[in-house]
């Protein structure tokens, strides 16, 4: 069931009414409703997917209890390993099996060997598997690291795993944030619900009006890049940068907004990443739930292996191991996005962009909200923003292309066949609208401003604009493929 579909437009109000008017007497019944509706939502794609999420839920529920109740540290580690192995195997089988087989065949063919019969599988990738497996792994990991106590309430745990607003494309929630909210009584709050509704409308606007309007031009440019000049290819990249941003952040906004309607707060996933002044800030603003997952469960634990005190070590050995860990984390992050070497290269590019900051120690200061108290960025900030966007945009070629060869050819053609573009310029209207609106709301990505008369003008206009574009829109969300 897509967020931008008529089915969801019927599903959401029905669940909302049942949740607050019929099932609101007890937490258990509310959570049962959430669980049922989440499974209905997920099963709408393919009911066969339900068995996997149910299995993942049961395994991690039991393992969470085992980890917590075990006294022996090696038993704790064993149970944790089972959880990780199980979830990674699930992911590996459905998402990466054919990729690894094909890559292995390509590798040994480099040495002159030919494989006659390649055994690959014809499996459907279950929607959202990359998201919910990471979510359940974080549950086991947090229990292991004593950040969380497991719950014995299976219904609540299952509701946490399958919570429909964020099930198929994130944000990847942490149990320490979401589970306590599932376990306690929710109270309806007017402001929270209004903020939620704003986010839903804003998310739909970004997806239907901006992303889906740019999509046909992006598709045409990437499909026909060999026949187009470099100027148009740059335009294609710019449009894709905003298409994927609006598509994904739009989904996240709808997810967060929907959760708010049910009295639940889930984490922000985007904070205006294209206003970032360097790549470190960018990764603090783009797909935050995933970047923090990798930071907390891969990057920091690996760093603690080499330096477990809190003092920053500036020795060459530390820097060297730090670089390896950084590259590894970004490569794994790239691979998470898809079973294609293009995603790995995309991750590698970001690693290369990040390394100078790490080596020269400029990655350790936190950057606050974008231009607090100022109307416009300074010249230096503007240059930094432009450069960061430029390099991020270049990396998107690998993300969007079908193969490394295509990505390489695309980039080469930008240089060797550059000419000023004389077509495909109308999409900049959407880019301008998006940047303007992002700029206006840059201090609060959750749109929790005070409710004023402006709502009664802006919201209807946005609703009508969405409806105006809705009939032309038939694009699925990009991140569903991950």
């Amino acid at each position: 069931m897509l967020f931008n579909s008529i089915e969801y437009a019927i599903f959401l109000p029905v669940v909302f009414i049942l949740y607050w008017f019929i099932f609101n007497k007890k937490i258990r019944s509310q959570n049962l409703l959430l669980l049922f509706c989440s499974y209905l939502f997920y099963g709408w794609w393919d009911f066969r997917f339900l068995s996997l999420i149910a299995l993942s839920t049961i395994v991690d529920y039991l393992i969470g209890l085992r980890i917590f109740n075990s006294i022996n540290p090696s038993h704790k580690k064993l149970y944790l390993s089972i959880s990780i192995l199980f979830n990674i195997s699930l992911l590996g089988f459905f998402k990466y099996f054919n990729f690894f087989i094909d890559s292995w065949v390509d590798l040994i063919s480099l040495f002159g060997y030919r494989v006659e019969n390649i055994w690959t599988l014809n499996v459907i990738l279950p929607v959202g598997i990359s998201f919910y497996t990471f979510q359940t792994m974080s549950y086991s990991l947090d229990i292991y690291f004593n950040k969380l106590k497991p719950t014995k309430n299976f219904i609540s745990f299952a509701s946490f795993v399958s919570f429909f607003p964020q099930l198929v494309a994130g944000p990847i929630e942490r149990a320490s944030n979401l589970l306590p909210q599932i376990l306690k009584k929710r109270v309806f709050k007017y402001e929270q619900s209004v903020h939620g509704l704003r986010l839903i409308i804003w998310g739909l606007f970004k997806k239907i009006v901006i992303a889906d309007s740019l999509a046909p031009t992006v598709n045409h440019i990437f499909l026909n890049y060999l026949n187009l000049n470099g100027g148009i290819l740059i335009i294609g990249l710019i449009y894709f940068s905003f298409q994927i941003y609006c598509d994904f952040s739009g989904y996240s906004d709808i997810a967060i907004g929907t959760a708010k309607l049910f009295g639940i707060e889930i984490m922000s996933n985007f904070r205006f990443p294209y206003f970032s002044r360097n790549i470190e800030e960018y990764w603090g603003r783009w797909h935050i739930s995933l970047s923090t997952w990798f930071r907390d469960y891969i990057y920091i634990p690996l760093f603690n292996k080499i330096d477990d005190d809190d003092i920053i070590d500036e020795t060459p050995k530390y820097k060297f191991y730090g670089m390896i860990i950084t590259i590894t984390t970004f490569l794994v992050s790239g691979l998470w996005h898809g079973s294609n070497w293009t995603f790995v290269i995309w991750g590698l590019i970001h690693a290369i962009l990040y390394l100078p900051l790490f080596i020269f120690g400029s990655n350790n200061y936190s950057l606050n909200q974008v231009w607090v108290g100022k109307k416009f960025p300074s010249f230096k900030e503007s240059v930094n923003i432009f450069l960061t966007f430029f390099f991020v945009m270049i990396s998107w070629v690998f993300f969007r292309s079908e193969s490394i060869g295509d990505a390489y050819n695309y980039l080469i053609r930008i240089v060797v066949d550059f000419a000023l573009p004389n077509s495909s310029l109308s999409g900049f209207i959407y880019v301008f609208v998006l940047l303007s609106m992002d700029w206006i709301i840059r201090n609060d990505e959750r749109l929790s401003f005070k409710i004023t008369w402006a709502d009664y003008i802006i919201m209807p206009v946005m609703v009508l604009t969405i409806m105006s574009f809705f009939n032309q829109s038939n694009q699925e969300f990009i991140y569903f493929q991950f």
Partner: protein, 313 residues
């Protein structure tokens, strides 16, 4: 909760409700309200050709027109097909009852021919345009469903559409044609003439991309050809003419390279020729020396091109 519901009503439900109510009440295309298309048909039949300023619901119009067949047709010649035949008639100098509809599929052919059979209409010369798209039964073209009065999800979706609101609020919808050379015209015989701005389109790549879904999965299913013969037999016209409308030479070579089955369809169609059934035309414009000047765009012959095609033996 009451404050939130009030907020919801004013910010979300009100604009949607206004939109849906307005569209439902005016409903020019007869999704809910059939009166407008009935009025249009009456004007067409009694007043003659109409300048049209909105998207005519062609299939609903056909259903009403065919009930008054004798008032439309002076010689019982009928032409059936897609947008390529919609231009055949008054503007090209042919006297026919034009039963053409855009985005014509095999299902349209079945429904339209059945209507003629059910009404026992006697046809003198029957022209059927055979397009390659007819042989893609997996096409996503589903406008044939508009023949039905059943409330479809796509109708309900249109009621939520701003575009439809603008169409509904734009006046006039149509008026008696005064003979001008600009307007989109629906002639009394059912044929059309494009608006002046649409008579010279040039984007060949876009057309090929659009055709991908309709031409990529053409089937050479023999049963479909048998079915065409069955339809011809059931319609029992005095003379049948199957028309293969050519593509613009600017795109023909690219099209054949991408969709080579098109030529195989042409060969199969020629096998349908018999003493009562004649085949004219070809998908290949070169066979009849039709240069790009005879086309409005990549697929539609202009008036002069139609005159040449329909006179060729």
């Amino acid at each position: 909760m009451i404050n939130f519901i009030r907020y919801l009503i004013f910010t979300v439900f009100s604009p949607i409700s206004f939109l849906v109510m307005t569209n439902t009440i005016i409903d020019q295309r007869g999704y809910i309200n059939k009166n407008h298309i009935k009025s249009f048909e009456k004007s067409l039949r009694n007043e003659g050709s109409q300048s049209v300023y909105y998207n005519l619901p062609e299939r609903k119009l056909f259903r009403i027109r065919i009930n008054n067949f004798s008032e439309y047709s002076s010689n019982n010649n009928v032409i059936i097909g897609g947008s390529k035949v919609l231009l055949v008639g008054a503007s090209s100098g042919h006297k026919v009852f034009n039963a053409g509809v855009s985005n014509f599929t095999f299902e349209d052919l079945r429904i339209i021919s059945k209507r003629f059979i059910d009404l026992k209409i006697e046809i003198d010369t029957l022209y059927i345009n055979i397009d390659a798209v007819l042989f893609n039964e997996k096409t996503n073209l589903d406008q044939w469903k508009n023949f039905s009065d059943r409330l479809r999800p796509s109708y309900i979706k249109r009621l939520f559409s701003i575009d439809y609101l603008i169409e509904n609020l734009t006046f006039p919808k149509y008026r008696n044609w005064d003979g001008n050379d600009i307007d989109y015209v629906k002639f009394k015989d059912g044929s059309i003439r494009y608006h002046a701005r649409d008579r010279n389109l040039k984007h060949s790549n876009i057309i090929l991309d659009q055709m991908k879904n309709n031409l990529a999965e053409i089937s050479l299913d023999k049963n479909l050809f048998k079915e065409i013969r069955g339809i011809l037999n059931n319609l029992n016209a005095n003379h049948n003419v199957l028309v293969l409308s050519p593509y613009n030479p600017l795109v023909y070579d690219k099209l054949i390279f991408k969709y080579p089955k098109i030529n195989l369809i042409e060969e199969e169609v020629y096998l349908l020729e018999d003493e009562k059934t004649e085949i004219i035309g070809s998908f290949n414009p070169e066979k009849y020396n039709l240069s790009k000047e005879y086309f409005y765009d990549q697929v539609h012959l202009n008036k002069e091109g139609i005159k040449i095609l329909y006179q060729i033996k």
